[in-house]
Symmetry: C2
Subunit: 466 residues, 2 copies
């Protein structure tokens, strides 16, 4: 069929399009009729936040009967001339000479009427919510950030690595994980004990991955620099605005990088993708700035131009103790930092992103490199104002003996992780990496209160619709 | 730590590096010693197929004891001057002035010795196989194609859409699917019947997705053009060289595209990503050309410059009937094309890629648009010589009545797909899309015989290691 121009192109090159006849296709956001027999249609095609105003005169042959029924949600194709607009709010408009309706939307049943809907309500109609300004803008931001992630790593010689979703290992013993099975639970006889897996697809228990890191280490220790960008899973029963059962992670892993290199890479990475967003999604960010968080754009701009702070966990604890703040959770060397502590550090003490390094060994996973003090590990968490931890990473333990000791202490099975140990037996090398939770990043750059708006089809306890 | 240069950069800019002191880091592929007290080390850092030759003289302080033990698989850092090489096979080499060993590899236990290993053997050591030329080259090809996919769609205004892995729908009733559960099968009492799901994470049966298409249609029918690129799953018990239980799919979906537009997009897409590969992975393709398939590069080049054939299913059947070939499977209107039929069409009849369109309605899924003849649907399969079907797609049924009739005929539950039906009730529009199996594409462009080499960690019946 005859494709239209995309509306974003028309706005971007207004002068070129002026007085030209174009064809556009999209969905009617609103229609209003003047007494002079003219309909004003706000048309959106998803290519940008802005609508193109269509001027349709009822006297055009066949228009009247279409325009009488036309309303919010209808899908149409329009041909006509781009002209300067006398109206406020836009500099150009399209004067329709042809109008075609592809799909009607009955105003008595179409759930997305003109008025603003709550984000909670929109979640229940996830098949229609991408027709709203908010979710449209989220989609464009998500898309731009996704590509910026690939661009950042590709420009630096990293290889995109697709690590498996189905796995027999549970990475760091990360708690609640989903099982994958080809068996029908209604037909499993529980008396069979472990034999039950004999008939399962893989012949043993398998799970949904919680991280691609350990597999990424394999590729870093052979090909140098890699990154994953894919779905990861937690079966944690957390009904909060910050948790999803299925979410996307970015996990770079680099041979011959130590903790300092890792910190620098994470900082360049965060700045680079936010800069791409500021450059290419200005209208969408303006929208979030206006409706979600009034300081959003300046916050993002500040992050791009400010050097991140680097501070050790031990220093952080000192700062928190001396802060005079009345924290709910006690501040104690050896305990994990709580949200309130993180907020104090990023929002009050430093007022910018902070990389906290060298955490106590006891509270971090087995694969992190033990520091010379034997009490801390070469970990790093990057905290940002307003959101808290956005990146978590470390230098990995590349020394065979030290790794085996860590595994024993943390009760990690040497048999299950035989291959991981072998990476240290054969041509081991210093290496580092980090992980970034993609939906938390989306929350951060949009100011969205609930992570369920940051992903097209959120999976949370009791919810796996669409 | 002090990063080295990547070896690919040194080869790319040989003249600039000549007589400069550089630092490189990587893994020893081979070492051989001359009687004159010189070791020749072939160093690979994964940045390209080629090794950099390191010249290390034993008389350098501290070198001798390192060089005595150094062998295949060791991880080292070297500093020295890039010099013209008198040896054959390379124009430059590095004369080491500093040598550091990060990780040893005991030659009596390291599984990857100099000799060639079978791909079957390498699969059992998937944590080390990326250190081989073959899997290194596959990784670079996979990476380049992945990015080319993103580039192709981003340049054309498509949005990258991450569709869910966990789903309650089984798409087209695609057969065997994996279940996802937070329940321990050993603790489930089968007497509980459907109630068993009350305690499950999502409160009802959930599965691993077989396709993101239906969700992509949601976004196409609101934002215009989208594509997915993510993992999909089949629990089919197929132990063949063409099947994986977990594989990646690319699925573009476009509003206001009919079947013709879809065919053209698929052709441009395939050509564009293969062209990117020919331009940027020449050495890796030469390698596959040499060791896997002697006509590989010319086949790929021909595909880029040849217009694809478009032929209807009905015409294909006629061609096959008239072919005089002795097929194992009967050629009959209404049956699906078998591999032998596809090969005849691409390799003998047309000798190039062929888009076959307008398949019988009865053998295609419910969502394909019914043609005016009521007997066929607006489907398209793109077949390529040597591999067969690489892309499958269709124009989707956008008409409410026609969709409902299809669902009834194919026994698809209107309740389960309520949201899908509603997309046709509210602002429906003509739209189309297709899917490309990423690992089959990798097989096609590398000539790899077994799909298990086309993905880092293959999942097949009985195998989910690493």
């Amino acid at each position: 069929m005859q494709h239209g121009e995309s509306i974003v192109d028309i706005f971007r090159h207004e002068q070129d399009y002026l007085n030209k006849v174009v064809r556009v296709q999209g969905w009617v956001r609103t229609k209003r009729d003047s007494k002079a027999g003219i309909s004003f249609i706000e048309l959106n095609d998803g290519s940008c936040l802005r609508n193109l105003q269509i001027i349709a005169e009822h006297e055009n042959s066949g228009f009247r009967e279409l325009l009488d029924r036309l309303g919010t949600g209808c899908s149409i194709g329009v041909e006509g001339k781009i002209s300067p607009s006398p109206g406020k709010g836009q500099s150009i408009e399209l004067h329709a000479s042809q109008l075609e309706v592809y799909g009607w939307a009955d105003p008595t049943t179409y759930p997305l009427q003109k008025k603003r809907h709550s984000l909670e309500f929109l979640r229940q109609i996830a098949h229609l919510r991408s027709r709203t300004n908010t979710i449209g803008a989220v989609t464009r931001v998500r898309n731009r950030l996704s590509f910026a992630i690939h661009q950042f790593f590709q420009e630096r010689g990293f290889y995109y690595l697709q690590t498996p979703v189905i796995t027999t290992s549970d990475c760091e013993g990360a708690g609640d994980i989903f099982r994958v099975t080809s068996l029908d639970p209604l037909k499993v006889r529980s008396t069979e004990s472990e034999d039950v897996y004999r008939d399962d697809f893989f012949g043993r228990p398998t799970y949904l991955t919680v991280s691609g890191q350990l597999q990424a280490e394999i590729y870093a220790l052979s090909l140098g620099k890699v990154y994953t960008f894919g779905p990861t899973f937690r079966a944690e029963n957390s009904n909060t605005s910050r948790h999803l059962a299925e979410f996307w992670m970015v996990e770079p892993e680099m041979a011959f990088y130590d903790l300092q290199d890792n910190i620098q890479l994470a900082e360049s990475f965060i700045k680079s993708i936010i800069e791409a967003l500021l450059n290419d999604c200005a209208d969408d960010l303006d929208f979030f700035n206006r409706f979600m968080q009034p300081t959003l754009k300046e916050d993002l701009e500040r992050i791009v131009r400010t050097p991140f702070e680097v501070v050790s966990y031990t220093e952080s604890i000192d700062l928190l103790k001396k802060s005079g703040e009345n924290f709910t959770f006690p501040v104690e060397w050896g305990s994990d930092l709580q949200a309130e502590h993180e907020r104090y550090l990023t929002e009050k003490a430093f007022q910018k992103p902070v990389s906290i390094i060298d955490y106590p060994r006891a509270i971090k996973p087995f694969y992190m490199r033990v520091n010379d003090d034997q009490k801390t590990v070469a970990a790093m968490d990057v905290l940002v104002p307003g959101v808290g931890e956005i990146v978590g990473g470390s230098q990995r333990e590349e020394r065979l003996d030290a790794l085996l000791e860590q595994m024993q202490l943390k009760q990690i099975s040497k048999e299950d992780y035989r291959w991981y140990v072998e990476l240290r037996e054969f041509g081991t090398a210093p290496h580092s990496g980090f992980g970034l939770g993609f939906e938390r990043l989306i929350q951060f750059v949009t100011g969205l209160g609930n992570i369920r708006e940051a992903i097209p089809f959120p999976r949370t306890p009791g919810h796996a619709d669409f």
